[in-house]
């Protein structure tokens, strides 16, 4: 069999397993065990155990667990409510102010949590009902929340960036930092879109009554109450940027910071810490068992000659870097509407990696756009974690409203990606400063 047939059979087998509802990690286990038997035979089983061993003991992957834990402590302790009040106060009595509150809050949440699902669920439960009760348009509110939640996997710390970095052999610190400017760009673009749309339909940008206006109190006090959170964010990113700590070490200091913040606001309880640890262990197991199970796939591709074959094919097609880039981006955009982001990532990275090298793309730039693309896939109807997280958190809005709200946000994010494609420096400036 040629490498192309093997690759197509492997992808077909995996997709068939996944779409039949087999757990994602089981799909990869089956694929790799069958692949080993076909390509090497039982003497290759040592290779299988080695790939599990090397992945499971890869210290950089602990960053995933620690950032999840940091987010869990901050969200479960309820300290993020303090953040909401402070942002609410600082935004002031702008017309349509809750849109600004959502985006600002999401940007800060994004720096505290790497999960779009967590932010969508939190905002869906807390802010969406408030927006509805104050006469904000349901669809625009849902769109703002979806856009805000989708900043989390882009703004550091990003769980996807850590996994991409460890699989594609790219600097995790570089990938984490690279998401900062794109995240802020997408937040700005979303605000521009929301206000441009609401200016055409003033009813979607209500004037709040006195009781609904921004909370009273000193802006300085509101700012002071945000300081502990800002210290956590600055210490996590600052340690990485300054080269003082690795991403894993800075994530661990972030966990310590989160505990200190919870203690400062009187929210540090044993039961909360226990729940946060339990949730973090579960999330870590669920994500990293997939990574462990899938890691061998790249070695099998190489063994089957697919890696070399793909590079030759990319050269023979002679499509040029731009068209090749477009194809490499359209595939995840379409597939991530239907399959899990992590599953797709683990399938695609070993296939993409030799092509990325052959085309001479800056790896940090390419993989940053790749993971933004996965994020967009996750908010594109009809299937996407972020959409269902919002719908699950707020049952009063219909699935149709959530879907309709998502499309303009997808448009905004695609516009942002075009900007990042045209001006790679927006992605590479900070990582280059790190080197």
């Amino acid at each position: 069999m040629t490498w192309a047939v093997l690759l197509l059979v492997a992808i077909g087998l995996l997709l068939a397993l996944l779409f039949s509802g087999v757990k994602v990690f089981v799909g990869f286990l089956v694929l790799n065990i069958v692949g080993l038997l076909v390509l090497i035979g039982p003497r290759g089983f040592g290779l299988f155990t080695n790939s599990l061993f090397e992945t499971a003991t890869s210290a950089p992957l602990l960053t995933v667990a620690l950032f999840v834990l940091m987010g869990e402590i901050l969200f479960r302790s309820g300290t993020v409510d303090i953040l909401f009040d402070s942002v609410d106060r600082l935004v002031g009595n702008l017309r349509g102010r809750l849109y600004v509150v959502v985006i600002t809050l999401s940007t800060v949440f994004g720096a505290l949590s790497g999960s779009a699902v967590a932010v969508a669920a939190t905002l869906g439960r807390s802010v969406q009902p408030l927006m509805r009760s104050r006469g904000y348009d349901d669809k625009l509110s849902a769109g703002t929340i979806l856009a805000g939640a989708s900043l989390a996997p882009i703004i550091p710390p990003s769980l996807l960036a850590i996994i991409v970095g460890s699989l594609a052999d790219v600097s995790i610190a570089g990938l984490l930092v690279a998401g900062l400017i794109p995240g802020l760009l997408f937040a700005t673009l979303t605000l521009i879109y929301v206000f441009a749309r609401a200016s055409q339909k003033p009813a979607e940008r209500p004037v709040e009554t006195e009781g609904e206006a921004a909370p009273k109190g000193s802006a300085v006090m509101a700012l002071l109450r945000m300081v502990p959170f800002l210290v956590v964010i600055a210490s996590v990113m600052g340690l990485i940027v300054a080269g003082i700590a690795t991403p894993s070490e800075s994530a661990a200091t972030g966990v310590l910071g989160a505990l200190v913040v919870a203690a400062l606001f009187g929210r540090l309880k044993f039961s909360m810490v226990r729940e946060a640890f339990a949730a973090a262990v579960t999330t870590t197991v669920v994500i990293l068992i997939i990574v462990c199970s899938a890691k061998l796939f790249s070695q099998l591709l190489s063994f089957a000659g697919a890696t070399r074959g793909l590079v030759s094919l990319a050269g023979a097609l002679d499509l040029g870097p731009d068209v090749t880039f477009l194809i490499l981006m359209v595939i995840p955009f379409l597939l991530c509407m239907f399959i899990d982001q992590i599953a797709f990532m683990l399938l695609a990275i070993p296939i993409y990696q030799p092509i990325v090298q052959e085309m001479g793309y800056d790896p940090v730039w390419f993989w940053t756009l790749f993971l933004i693309n996965l994020t967009v896939g996750s908010l594109t109807p009809p299937f996407g974690y972020t959409l269902f997280a919002l719908k699950g958190a707020q049952e009063d809005i219909t699935t149709g409203t959530v879907f309709a709200a998502a499309w303009p946000v997808v448009g905004v994010f695609i516009a942002g990606m075009v900007a990042l494609w045209a001006a790679p420096i927006l992605v590479t400036a900070l990582p280059n400063a790190l080197r």
């Binding site: 779409f19 039949s20 087999v22 089981v26 299988f48 599990l52 667990a65 070490e249 068992i289 599953a343």
Partner: protein, 173 residues
């Protein structure tokens, strides 16, 4: 992700299995706490006392393995794993039940195969006295045995799910 557990009341052996999974899950949590503490200690030792350790990176790597494979049985018991339920969610009645049983049985077989492969490798490593490739080596089979145990226990949970699942057991994405 779902949170469905085996619906039928477990037998004595089932309760032992569930209890051991919960216990291992607590150990996974402790491993995570230890890893976080070690990293904070490492940063402090390096910058405050100019005394970096040579072993924290290795220990943290082993701790991560403990988090994943000691936590795996309980995550499996709770049905927390990610799956894509586009097709399964369109099925109802016996078709849905049959598909669930089939996917759980396949998961049990895959985890059993993986666990046996890892278990056999652990025995090989033990007999050859193989150590980890690190500055402070430890017997490699210690870690491989944890991987094997986690996978085998998960296989058993999947098998129990397959044998006892009612039609509306799981929903994934």
């Amino acid at each position: 992700m779902d949170n469905a557990s085996s619906p039928a009341a477990p037998s004595f052996l089932g309760r032992v299995h569930d209890g051991s999974s919960k216990l291992l899950f607590v150990a996974a949590g402790l491993a995570l706490a230890a890893a976080a503490t070690l990293y904070v200690f490492e940063v402090t030792a390096r910058y405050a006392f100019n005394a970096p350790t040579t072993w924290s990176g290795e220990v943290v790597g082993y701790a991560l393995c403990l988090v994943i494979f000691l936590g795996l049985p309980e995550a499996t018991r709770r049905g927390a794993h990610i799956a894509i339920d586009i097709v399964p969610s369109t099925l109802t009645g016996w078709k849905a039940a049959a598909l669930l049983r089939t996917t759980d049985a396949l998961a049990a077989a895959a985890c059993l195969a993986a666990g046996l492969i890892a278990g056999r490798e652990a025995l090989n490593q033990l007999s050859r006295g193989l150590m980890t490739n690190a500055a402070h080596p430890i017997p490699r089979w210690w870690i491989t045995a944890v991987i094997a145990a986690g996978l085998l226990s998960a296989a058993l949970h999947f098998l129990r799910h397959a044998l006892s699942r009612h039609p509306k057991g799981t929903a994934a994405q």
